[in-house]
């Protein structure tokens, strides 16, 4: 009974943290000044604006809860298999997933504060945009590097080798997406002056390339490679029942990685305007957030099944 209570602790703690972050978001929506630009565009009162902001944020807030549940379940599984040969890699995977889960509320709450500050004091707008961009880059690099190290460890531990066709497919899709990304970002920059900061990133072009584009491309490559490696590991692992549970976890992780990459891709190719805009960008972002949330739920279910195998 005591061990059951102890095992449930990380879950309840994570859900409490998610609930607190959701409460903080709701509180900020009602405390921060309503965006004049959005209210003017859609003819909204302050209360209507806040209600619309909450309604739009609802899928994201639910995704936070799913994300915190997902990484807590994975952490719970790790506590059971920590001493096993593959335990340290699952541990690293759980840490990477925790970074991804925390990156959701951290970037949203920061975005909310930065937008309000930018609206209130125009001088802060540039600094807020830069910090927002760097925060996104930092979280992506750390999370995908950790997940990449974990998947590499699992593949090496199982002595698996990549197929040539698989590597070619991965490289081709990464190169195509990367070149398209550079093209779409450069279209938004004034290429006649490399030092100009009059762009959506509030940074000189050379700095956008060095500190935003290259780190993002690195993080996405690490993420895509991790998704490929972890799928390879799950396909070649022995054990019918173990594999069923692992594939659920891996399917969830793949959905999470792809949704995060898509969200980061969209947010840099079509940067936020600093206030609520009801358009196709919002629809696509919400769609990928829901996919990510579904991924975290699959991850939680897979981790739960794997843990059950270790407990019965």
């Amino acid at each position: 009974m005591t061990s059951q209570r102890q095992a449930a602790q990380p879950i309840s703690r994570s859900l409490q943290q998610a609930a607190l972050l959701v409460a903080a978001y709701v509180l900020l929506v009602f405390l921060l000044p309503a965006s004049v630009a959005t209210r003017h565009t859609y003819h909204l009162s302050a209360l209507e604006y806040r209600s619309a902001l909450l309604a739009v944020a609802l899928p994201s807030l639910l995704t936070w809860v799913a994300a915190f549940l997902g990484y807590a379940k994975l952490r719970q599984y790790v506590t059971v298999v920590r001493k096993s040969p593959e335990g340290s890699y699952f541990d690293k995977l759980a840490t990477g997933c925790a970074w991804l889960a925390w990156s959701l509320p951290v970037s949203s709450l920061f975005g909310l504060l930065a937008n309000a500050a930018g609206e209130e004091w125009s001088a802060v707008h540039g600094a807020a945009t830069i910090t927002d961009n760097y925060l996104g880059v930092l979280l992506a690099v750390v999370a995908f590097s950790l997940i990449g190290a974990a998947s590499r460890g699992l593949v090496n531990h199982a002595k698996l080798k990549f197929s040539l066709a698989g590597v070619r497919g991965l490289m081709l899709s990464f190169l195509a997406a990367g070149v398209l990304y550079c093209y779409l970002v450069f279209r938004r920059l004034d290429l006649t002056s490399l030092g100009s900061t009059h762009n959506a990133y509030s940074l000189p072009i050379w700095l956008v390339v060095l500190s935003v584009i290259i780190p993002y491309l690195y993080a996405w490559f690490a993420g895509l490679l991790a998704a490929y490696e972890i799928n390879l590991f799950s396909k070649h692992t022995n054990g019918v029942l173990y594999r069923q549970a692992l594939q659920l976890l891996v399917g969830g992780l793949t959905a999470i990685i792809l949704s995060f990459i898509a969200l980061q891709y969209i947010s840099t190719v079509v940067p936020s305007q600093g206030h609520l805009v009801l358009g196709y960008r919002l629809v696509i972002i919400t769609l990928f957030r829901i996919i990510g949330g579904g991924g975290f739920l699959m991850l939680a279910l897979g981790a739960q099944k794997l843990k059950r195998i270790e407990e019965v």
Binding site: P85, T237, G239, Y242, R243, K305, L306, R308, I309, V312
Partner: protein, 94 residues
């Protein structure tokens, strides 16, 4: 096949279990022995095998609703138990 008879009974049970539970097989069998038969892996004897199989059937049924997998796994373990009985009989005849 020669390796099967050379390795310990515990290893043979784990090898069969590996097909169903993969990397968790060793831990799974050690846990069943400890929790239900109160024995360590080295103490597993042919006399324990049938009761271990009964426990495994109950426990694996909690992991999957696919009866086909459960029955296939149990049949493999049953074959091992039969082979052990056969070997014991042969030894008694000698």
């Amino acid at each position: 096949m020669a390796r099967d008879t050379d390795s310990s009974l515990y290893d043979q049970v784990v090898r069969i279990t590996h097909v169903y539970l993969g990397p968790a097989a060793d831990r799974f069998i050690a846990r069943q022995l400890e929790n239900h038969l109160h024995k360590s892996p080295e103490e597993l004897s042919p006399a324990d095998l049938l009761s271990l199989i009964d426990w495994i059937r109950v426990v694996v049924s909690l992991l999957t609703e696919d009866n086909g997998i459960v029955e296939e796994y149990i049949a493999e373990l049953q074959k091992l138990a039969d082979a052990q009985t056969h070997t014991k009989r042969k030894q008694n005849h000698k």
